[in-house]
Amino acid sequence: MRHRSRLLTMTLTAGLLLAACTDPGTDTGADAAGPVRLLTHDSFDVSTEVLETFTADTGIDVEVIPLGDAGSALNRVILTKDDPEGDVLFGVDSTFLTRALAEDLFLPHRAAGLDAVDPALLPDDERVTPIDFGDVCVNYDRGWFAEAGLPVPADLAALADDRYAGLLAVQNPATSSPGLAFLLGTIARLGEDAAFTFWERLRANDVLVTDGWSDAYYGAFTHASDGDRPLVVSYASSPPAEVLFAAEPTDTAPTGVIVDTCYRQVEYAGVLASTPRPDAARALLDHLLSPAFQADVPLTMFVFPARTDVPLPDVFTAHAVLPDEPLTLDPARIDAGREGWIERFTDTVLR
């Protein structure tokens, strides 16, 4: 018996040792020599050279660790707050800003280059730094509307018109970041109660609700799929993307944006409070606001840079719409209302 329990003990110990050895060394944030880890969402993208510049300047490697969609990424960081998987979080959008601040995830940091940021984007809190912004708007398929001889819906309210029945695809706000943004936009435009009356009418108008952005855009949108929806909730930067990635070079964007529906999202970054390497993390955050990184975001993530002093690519100036007065909601109001609104949406539209 003693023999047997010794065997078990040995097996257990061997197992644990083996497990420790399987660590290939990527999870070594505590080591000063290791890379600084950037936690972010799945849509994060940057040109390789831009990160290489950072490494060349500072001698610190960057490891990018995507954690799912924006909401999931933030939740993951909150759940692992005491034992973070990274040093910097990029991608907290205005929808979830209050939650991130309430959880006290970040160290205060005044990033170099903050002076060049559009003052309208600056929060009253030094713990988060705006990096980029973008608008979620209803996109339309120009070709489809021309062929159908139907005018493009003029504004948000028009989407509920009978003649646009069965044309719109949106995302479930419970599972999709642009879906939630669009829902918030309707509330910002119409007020809460009127917004859900509007959603009732959209439902009667046979609105299609998908789980995620790609299901709607690449699964239902007439321009990007064999689907039957010429109206889809997407980004204001989608038309330039269509031009950029068009199979044949084109001067006119095949899709357009209904400006009245645009809801603004700002993306923030912050240094995680429990990072073992606050200095490296601060340097990385500064880099996110550097001209090089800022100039890179339009064509990698299809958003607008927070800095006003970097040039926009031509395709953006030509085809992207930047609404003068986009819809916005106060982060505190979002935080108070978000779950209730999602529930109400589910009840109104999905049930």
């Binding site: 329990s5 995507p66 999905l350």
Partner: protein, 546 residues
């Protein structure tokens, strides 16, 4: 009076000592995390049961529970409808390739749920031009039938094969037609196995996570998926915890029914008894066998073919491109590591998890078989992790070990621990029947021949159990390498396992990601399939049946 002392010599201390291993493991890595989840979810309110009450009253909960139970019942019925005829044919007829076919039915059962999800994504995509089942409940039901058919075939077929045919023939000579005789004689005798198989299928589909997460959608989520959604997307731990409790209650109830049906099952001897299978002769026999083979091929083969086809399809042609991209980073694919690294991670983690599960499971099984109150308690306690939502487990581990030895570098240990928790019940269920079936007289014979108790264990129990141990190890490996629900929480983002990588890739747009998901699924399917086919070759007795 010179009464001898107890000559059985079962020292009291030993089962306790041995019980310490699984008790400590379950206590630390199962109960404590569970307490943390429940505490975080239910303890924040003034009245502890308020969240539970709120969730229980919520009409959305009713909808989720109704869907969960409804799809589980439908899945079980469909699985029986497919599985029973196949079980009958496999039990009654002897033909070339029957054993291979039988082993093959087991492969889908141990396929990781994400692989099943991928296979059906591929299949439904292929079918879409003809009949579009994407985003329907049918997608979920078909996937559930796909990987639970083997439960029915194995459990019911195992009993069916050993049924003495004489009573059936007696009924026929007494004037019952074939159908009547089946209904009056065979069916009642199969009932315990059918009940047990139904309970298992119901349990598996009731707690289905990966398949539903991938194939479901708005309005089509199980409690398990809702727990994940509440946690990962809404950060609503209160609801997550309340749903976990709800799920646990439902599962315990099902397990209770399962246990009752199992107890009615006649004990089967370890030795293979003669079968009543006969060669295939005559048109009806040929039709029956052909039909069964065709049914299995359709239900289980076609989705796998679709998966393979999708993994190899590149543009309009075929190639290994998707597999090649696994080794290098690409812009479109969002993962912090190249997928090949996930494969290495998975193999290493599953190996450690298997060793852990074997150590814990073996000591637990030996304790359970030693009888007494400790043994009985152990027997019951070991089924608990099986009944607990893997998602809850993962969440609990994450919450319970954010600091201390399992934080930071040590966090890498939590993944094999989480997977071992899921595998331990399988190890115990594999070893226990074999340990129980060892004839007491074998031990007595060894003792009278001069073997002291420890030697008896080494000379009799160990050699007989070691084959079952190999089987248990194989099952553990297959289970752990495919584990998803707990791993998705515990795995560090920088160290994804294959299932986690597949899920991430499936959730992202673009052909590269889809292709990678399919290629990884094929790899994972090949790994688990190989392990299972190896197991089947050394299968002893009723090992591997549930």
């Amino acid at each position: 009076m010179t009464g001898t002392r107890g000559t059985r010599r079962r020292p009291r201390g030993r089962p306790l000592l041995l019980a310490a291993v699984p008790t400590a493991f379950l206590g630390l890595f199962f109960l404590w995390p569970l307490v943390r989840v429940l505490g975080r979810g239910l303890g924040v309110d003034a009245t502890p049961l308020a969240p539970l009450w709120d969730v229980a009253r919520d009409p959305r909960t009713h909808e989720v529970v109704a869907f969960t139970a409804g799809q589980a019942v439908a899945s079980t019925v469909l699985t029986l409808a497919v599985g029973l005829p196949v079980a009958g044919v496999l039990a009654r007829y002897r033909f070339r390739g029957r054993q291979v076919l039988e082993a093959a039915t087991l492969v889908p059962f141990v396929l990781p749920t994400v692989v099943v999800g991928s296979a059906f994504v591929a299949l439904l995509g292929r079918l879409a031009p003809v009949v579009d089942l994407r985003g329907t409940t049918w997608a979920i039901l078909l996937a559930h039938v796909f990987f639970n058919v083997s439960v029915v075939v194995r459990t019911v077929g195992g009993l069916w094969r050993h049924l003495d045919e004489a009573p059936l023939l007696a009924a026929r000579t007494l004037g019952a037609g074939p159908l009547r005789a089946f209904r009056e004689v065979t069916l009642p005798r199969l009932r315990p196995a059918i009940m047990a198989a139904s309970a298992v299928v119901f349990l598996f589909t009731f707690t289905s996570f990966g398949v539903v997460l991938i194939l479901g959608g708005p309005g089509r989520s199980t409690i398990e998926v809702e727990i994940h959604r509440a946690t990962a997307q809404l950060l609503d731990l209160r609801t997550a915890a309340a749903l976990s409790v709800l799920q646990l209650l439902a599962v315990v109830a099902t397990l209770g029914l399962y246990d009752r049906s199992r107890r009615h099952q006649a004990a089967r001897p370890l030795a293979r008894t003669a079968t009543t299978a006969r060669p295939v002769r005559g048109v009806r026999a040929r039709l029956a066998v052909g039909g069964a083979v065709a049914l299995l091929a359709t239900v289980q083969g076609v989705p796998l073919l679709a998966l393979g086809e999708r993994a190899l399809r590149v543009g309009d042609g075929w190639g290994l491109d998707h597999f090649r991209t696994l080794g290098r980073p690409t812009r479109e694919a969002v993962l912090s590591v190249v997928p090949a690294e996930a494969v290495v991670n998975s193999l290493a983690i599953a190996t450690v998890a298997t060793l852990l599960a074997l150590a814990v499971g073996t000591s637990a099984a030996v304790t359970a078989v030693s009888g007494g109150r400790v043994g009985r308690l152990m027997d019951g306690a070991l089924m608990l992790p099986l009944g607990t939502s893997a998602v809850t487990l993962g969440l609990g581990l994450l919450l319970a070990f954010r600091t201390g030895p399992f934080a930071g570098r040590g966090a890498v240990l939590l993944v094999p621990v989480a997977q071992a928790l899921v595998a331990v019940p399988f190890v115990v269920r594999t070893l226990l029947p074999v340990l129980r079936a060892i004839d007491r007289r074998l031990r007595e014979a060894a003792a009278t021949l001069g073997a002291p108790p420890r030697r008896v264990w080494r000379e009799v129990d160990l050699p007989i159990v070691s084959r079952a141990g190999l089987v248990a190890a194989g099952f553990s490996f297959a289970v752990t390498i495919g584990e998803f629900g707990a791993t998705i929480f515990v795995a560090r983002a920088s160290q994804p396992t294959i299932p986690v990588a597949i899920h991430r890739a499936l959730g992202l747009p673009g052909e590269v990601n889809l292709g990678r998901a399919m290629a990884l699924s094929v790899l994972l399917a090949l790994i688990t399939g190989t392990v299972v086919l190896l197991i089947d070759r050394i299968r002893v007795g009723q090992v591997g049946r549930f």
